[in-house]
Every structure is written in structure tokens, then in C-alpha cells.
Symmetry: C3
Subunit: 313 residues, 3 copies
């Protein structure tokens, strides 16, 4: 693996999942990262991604240096040829090249603005690091994707599935704020590579980008979609069509026990943080079908296997 | 030890003090924490607590991950059953459970609001972590107690006492801001378990909670209380009775050389940070009786022995 | 070495440069810092200095603890005898002494206010730490100097020079904000100790302090100064004479290919961050003569050799 920007950077998904689950059982790679440094650069806040990636790196014996780009007053210029006479102190060209002097791998998190679809789809921050860094780059959630979360999800489904080809349903749920499509995008991408029956359900106007959805069935009636589901992934996202807008807060889409009963005793997943009683009801999160904590725990092993692959390169 | 939330979590105070002083002499536990991770979560700023706990963990071979919950824009919901449709992004249930996936021990600091006594006494933040975390929790100063500081104080008194049963005086001093009662609370609690003669002195209206004070004499005349003191612990706190209020800034309570002369050449203690010439005069802090720096240094060994006990559990 | 506050703390510049370049080739000192802790205290933001010093310390096997003094709401009092009844929570006397309890070396960064020359020249923050700390102190850029950068520059010139006595030109360049003189001050100081022909060029009104400049020629015509230069160090600084003011944003001083052609195919240096097309043109930064990234990479080895010398003391 050269970088980890998209799910497509994984050459053999099954092999990488197997290796992650092996690392979870036994940290056989504790020396792989000795003398190597991981730099984590956050343009947006992070809890799970930061801690699990830091932990994963340390499990490999790496040193970790963390920078909060948003708080340390370090505004970057991304435009080529800019005359830098205003408030941007450093160009991405220097920033990425200099970080490459101090770090053996660089992780970057940068959320979308959700105002301008075309601009967000260019995913300027992560792609600029990819262009100008001289070391491997990891996507810690970009404007359009969250491949570490998606690999975690693939690991979790593999770990907990009881039948060879489970039915996996991704269902939209309401949320008070406009959220990116990065998590559902990457989840759909990774599930399309797995031996699962994937179905997406969301209200009209909330269909994900057609390039993402591809041939995956999109059903606008949640009840129908949930039938016989073995896994339900609940997640809010803002509209792709009317880009970045909240078209509905319809709480009939909140995932509760009544919905759960329509499934095949499904395991319930969410990337967290989750708004209780808005996205998922207490009764589900506190009940036996929720695997959200175990799923969060697997973040460590997804990060660990990706770091290991990049170090081995 | 299962958690370290209150002084009462210590089973054998003398044994733990002896072990801390032994660790100070020789770090015989350098491998105890190998492969273990300490997560430190700050809802309020910290210097000594953060650095000494980080240092202690590293002396044990642990990895340390630090999160500034107040700055990383990560507002937690603590209410059971809340419909999370406003500004709280994550419920303590998930936060504590997820941190338990990445950390082997979690330390939490959360100050009181000093507006509502009943609410502060519930000590919601630390108690919620205690309830929902699946790993041991350390109190890095909560609304009502600061047991790491108190253990430090017990270690320091033990280390420096010259007679079997010294007289220890806790004296109030003025301060420009309203401060919690957490430090004096825990100091009183730990001293009540030591072989010392403890006396508290403060202006009327500043008596600590009766459940804390118990049978310890409270004297409202500082001069009288200081007589024959072997240790004087100077500290401001806001009123417990008129909860959180500043009733007096009376600088006749400032601890200076004149006060020191009334004691038995007492060692002078303070948890720091200290307002010079308001709480304690320069002449005392810069003189031979001040042991505040040595006391701060002992924070490391208090934290180290607590972490060791939790790891051994 | 006892502390590293000024270039003059280096006893033998050539020897330390040779050792740094040796450490760059082979980290032969990986165990020197085992069990030792470096504390880095930032009163101002930092990217390169923080990361390179953290990396250097870890290359020596040290633990690193980082504090953002400006963000963690921890206002220090520096006045002797102050009655601390307003917003300053802790006196430098305690802060420095306490940090000395937890750290084996302390690094401090504190920029000048650029309002009051006399005050800035007292360099109160770094000198107070020097006075009250009980462990070695490193200057991570103070009001008047940046000796880690200067040592980096000396290492870089030594590494890349092709003739025994190269001509080195320090040239002023425009900048939208008022910047300190710390970088040019230390650069001039270190170059005066090297076997180079040093020339400074800047517009009238921008001469550095006479005590810094000494006998080094100052030429107010950039074109003339650049002739036959083997190294050009481009840097903005605010006026020393009209202290802290921006007297000119004259972009005829911007360093571009036309200027480069006047030199002896000079290597172009800058401490970064650099305002592209204001301080240095894209064509130079993206061209073969720029060594700014390599220079930034050498920060690690300057820091490593300084830390090693302090540890060996």
C-alpha cells in the first residue's frame, strides 16, 4: 500500500481484514514501527480517530506527533501561484514537504464545507498533502470519504457475521446538524467489495452520489429495506442532491426497537458519536443488538493494519 | 485498588505512602505499565496534575494519550434519556465506553460550577465516568475532591515530619477568585487518617462541609490555631455555607513571616498555583520554611503509586 | 553546555556542527536520553520548532511533554514582588521550579511584543526561566534570538558549501506583518563565527541592532550585495530603529529568479514559513536552487546535538 486515501487503495480486502483480526488477537507486529514517526494533522476535531490511530501506532512501536492545525493558528494556503500577502502564513507545498522531513507517515483530517459540492469533491486538503508529501498519507476523514472507519466496519461485519452472505442495510436517520457524506460513502464502497447483500434506505432527496451508489439498491421505504437485515448501519447525512442541506428531520426514521423487530435480529452499527433518541433510541443502544462500542474498539486494528501495510511498503 | 476517586479508595494509607517514597528513591516499577495506555481527559486546564501524572505513567512504562475535552469542541451529554437534538454531540455512555476500548486507565478532571451546591456535590462528570467506563478511573480533581493532591500531601508530611505526631494546621487565605473546596476537602480527609493533630482555621462563614470536618477542630482565630504548628497548609476556598461566594478578601489572613513566627518553625505547604502576596507573602515562599516545590515534586510519586496499584489490580 | 539561550552558549561551533552531521548520518546517541524528560513550553504557536525538537528528543530516547501556555489559560506573573490579585494565576518562580521537578530539560518559546524595544530586549520570559529553573533551558525562539534555527543554518551551510569560504548574503524581503528580528539576529551571530564572507542587505531604516551587526558590512542596495553570493538567506524583519514598525512593503525586494541570476548560482535559504510571491517567488522556491526543505529537515539534528550536549553536561 502506497497511501490510504480511498477504499480502492486496499489491494486485497479479505487479506487485510484477516490480518487486522489476527493483530487484534495477538500484537505480532509490535516492532514494525520502531524508530518511525507518525504525524497526525487535524483541521477538525477528533476523538475516536485520533485516539485509535495514536494507539495503533504505539502498538506498532511508532512515535506519534499530533498537531491541531485548526487551533495552532497555522492557516495554510492551497492555491497554486498565490501571492501570500494576507492571513495565510504557509503554503501546503512547504507544509507537506517539511512534515515529510519529520514524519514517516502523515495522517490528515479535513471536513467539507458543505456549501460548494464541486469544491468539496476536489477534496483539496487531503489531495494537496498527497501531492506534496514525500511520505505515505493516511486519510483520517476527508471531505468525501472516511476509509479508516469503513475498514473498521468491514472488520466488524466479518468478525460478527453468522452466515456466509449477510444482508447489510445502511439506513439514513435524522440529525439536528448538516453532516458530510464521507462515512456513508466509504461504507458503501467497502461493502460493495464484501460478500454481503447491501441495501441503502433513505428519504427521497437523500440519495448518495450515483458514482458511489452504483448498482446497490436504494429503497425509500425504511420498513421494506430493513426486512431480514443481519446488520443495520444507522447514519445521518445531509443531502447530496441539494448539496449540504437538511431536507428533513423526520423522526419516523429514528432507529428504535420497533424497527429492530423488522430485521433478522440484526446487529446495529454506528460510527459514533451518536445523538441518542434522535438517530438511535436508547432502547437499541442500551440493548443486546448494539455493537457500536465493539465497532469503535475495532478502529484500533483497522488503523494498525493500515499503518503496518504502509510501513512494510 | 479498583478506582481512585476518593481518599477512601485507599485501603492502607501508610503502606501506599511507604511505597510512594520507595518509588521516589528507586523506580523499581519501570516495567509495570508496559503495553498499557493511560488516557487523560481534561474538562479544565491543568499544569501540575497533567505533567506529574503523565510523567508518573511514563515512569511505569505506560503510553499516555491526552485529550482537552474543553477545547476540542466535544460537548458531552450526561442526562439519562436525553433527546440529543441540540449542541451535545456525544453521550457519556458512549464516550466512557469507547475510551475504555483505547485506554487501560482513564483520568478525568472536571471542576465545579460553584453555582449550585447540590449539583456540584453529585460530581456528575467523574461519577458518570465511574459508572460507564469499563476500566479504572482516576480523579484528577473533581467538583468536590482532589485525592491525588491529598495523597501527595500525606506523602510530603510523612517524608518531612520530625516528630511522631506533628500538629498540622489548614488555614484559609484570601484570593481574588472563587475557588472550589476540593483541595481542602481531600486534605482534611487524608489528614484525618494520619497520625497528626489536625486543626482547621478559617473566617466565620468559611467552614467546610460538616461531613468533611467531622470531629476536626475548627478555630476562627488564625493566631490561636497556628500555635505550635509543625506544618501549615495555606489554601483559599469559597464559602460552603453561602455556596461558592467570596465573603471576604481580608488580607489579615495572608500568610506571612509574622504568622510563621507563631508556629513551631512550621513547614509551609500549598498545592500551587499560589497567588504571591495575597495567599502567601514572598518572604515565606522565598524563605527556608516553604516546601511547596518539594510538595509539587511529590505529585509524580503519588500518581505513580496510584497507577501502579490500579495496574496491579 | 549548561543552557542554550544564545549562540554564545556554544563552545566550539565547528565541533557541534560536525557532530550534528554525524548524528544525521547515524543516530549513535539513541540511548543518551533514556529515562529523561523534555518539557516544551509554548507561549506562541510553533510547527517546525515543536516537531523537530520533539523528534530530536525521541531520537535520543527522551520522553516529551508539551504545554501550550498561551492556550491552557495559564497566565504567568513575571514581576518580582507583585501582589497577585488580578488575572495572573502563577508566578514564574513557582512555574519554573515546578517544571524543573518534572522535566530534565525545559524548552521555552516566547515572541516579542514589538511595541517596546527596551522591554523586548530584556527577553523576560526566557531569562526568567533561566533564572528560576533548576534544569537546563533551551531557547525555542525568544524576543531577540532563535539559536536553534541559527545552528540549523550553520549546519546547512557547512553541509552544502562547495568552497572553503563561501559568500553568504542575508537579504531583507517584504512581508505583510511585522516580524521579530530574532531569526536574522541569531543568523548573523552564528555566521560571524563561521568561515564565510557575510554581507547583510536591507532597505534604509531596517538595519539590525548595531551590537548584532558589528563589523559585518550592511549594504542598502540589494543588487550590489547579491553579487557572487554562494548562499542567500531571505528573511523579513520589522524595523529595529523605528522599533517594530513596517516601513516598507517594497516588492522590488522580493527574491526572484532575476535576483538569483546576480549571484554565483546561490543556494537559497529561508527559515519558513515563507510567504510565497511576497518574500520569495514561486520560481525560486520551486526551482533547483532552493534548499529550504533540506534546511527545515536539519532542524532535527540541530536540536538533537543541543539536547545531547545538555544531557552530557
Amino acid at each position: 500500500m502506497k497511501n490510504y486515501i480511498n477504499i480502492s487503495d486496499i489491494e486485497d480486502l479479505q487479506e487485510i481484514i484477516t490480518e487486522a483480526l489476527q493483530l487484534k488477537k495477538e500484537n505480532s507486529a509490535a516492532g514494525t514501527g520502531k524508530g518511525k514517526t507518525l504525524g497526525l494533522l487535524f483541521f477538525n476535531p477528533s476523538l475516536r480517530t485520533r485516539l485509535s490511530t495514536e494507539k495503533a501506532a504505539k502498538l506498532l512501536g511508532m512515535e506519534v506527533m499530533i498537531m491541531n492545525a485548526d487551533k495552532d493558528g497555522w492557516a495554510l494556503e492551497f492555491e497554486d501561484g498565490a501571492v501570500m500577502d494576507s492571513n495565510k502564513a504557509e503554503h501546503i507545498k512547504e507544509a507537506a514537504a517539511v512534515l515529510s522531513q519529520y514524519c514517516d507517515i502523515i495522517g490528515v483530517r479535513a471536513f467539507p464545507g458543505l456549501q460548494d459540492r464541486e469544491k468539496d469533491e476536489q477534496d483539496v486538503v487531503i489531495n494537496s498533502f498527497l501531492k506534496y508529501a514525500e511520505v505515505p498519507v493516511i486519510n483520517l476523514e476527508s471531505a468525501t470519504g472516511h476509509p479508516l472507519q469503513a475498514l473498521t466496519d468491514a472488520i466488524t461485519v466479518t468478525e460478527l457475521k453468522k452466515i456466509k452472505r449477510p444482508k447489510v442495510v445502511l439506513t439514513w436517520a435524522p440529525h439536528p446538524r448538516a453532516l458530510p457524506q464521507s462515512v456513508p460513502n466509504s461504507f458503501v464502497e467497502v461493502m460493495q467489495k464484501m460478500e454481503v447483500d447491501l441495501v441503502i434506505t433513505n428519504p427521497e432527496g437523500y440519495d448518495l452520489a450515483p458514482e458511489i451508489t452504483g448498482k446497490t439498491p436504494v429503497i425509500h421505504k425504511q420498513e421494506e429495506a430493513l426486512k431480514n437485515a443481519d446488520f443495520v448501519y444507522v447514519k445521518n447525512w445531509s443531502s447530496y442532491e441539494k448539496y449540504g442541506q437538511i431536507l428533513s428531520k423526520d423522526n419516523s426514521w429514528t432507529f428504535n426497537n420497533e424497527k429492530l423487530e423488522r430485521t433478522n435480529n440484526a446487529k446495529v452499527m454506528h460510527c459514533l458519536p451518536v445523538r441518542r433518541n434522535v438517530v438511535i433510541a436508547d432502547e437499541v443502544l442500551d440493548g443486546p443488538n448494539s455493537i457500536v462500542i465493539q465497532q469503535a474498539g475495532n478502529r484500533t486494528f483497522a488503523a494498525q493494519v493500515v499503518l503496518k501495510k504502509l510501513l512494510e511498503k
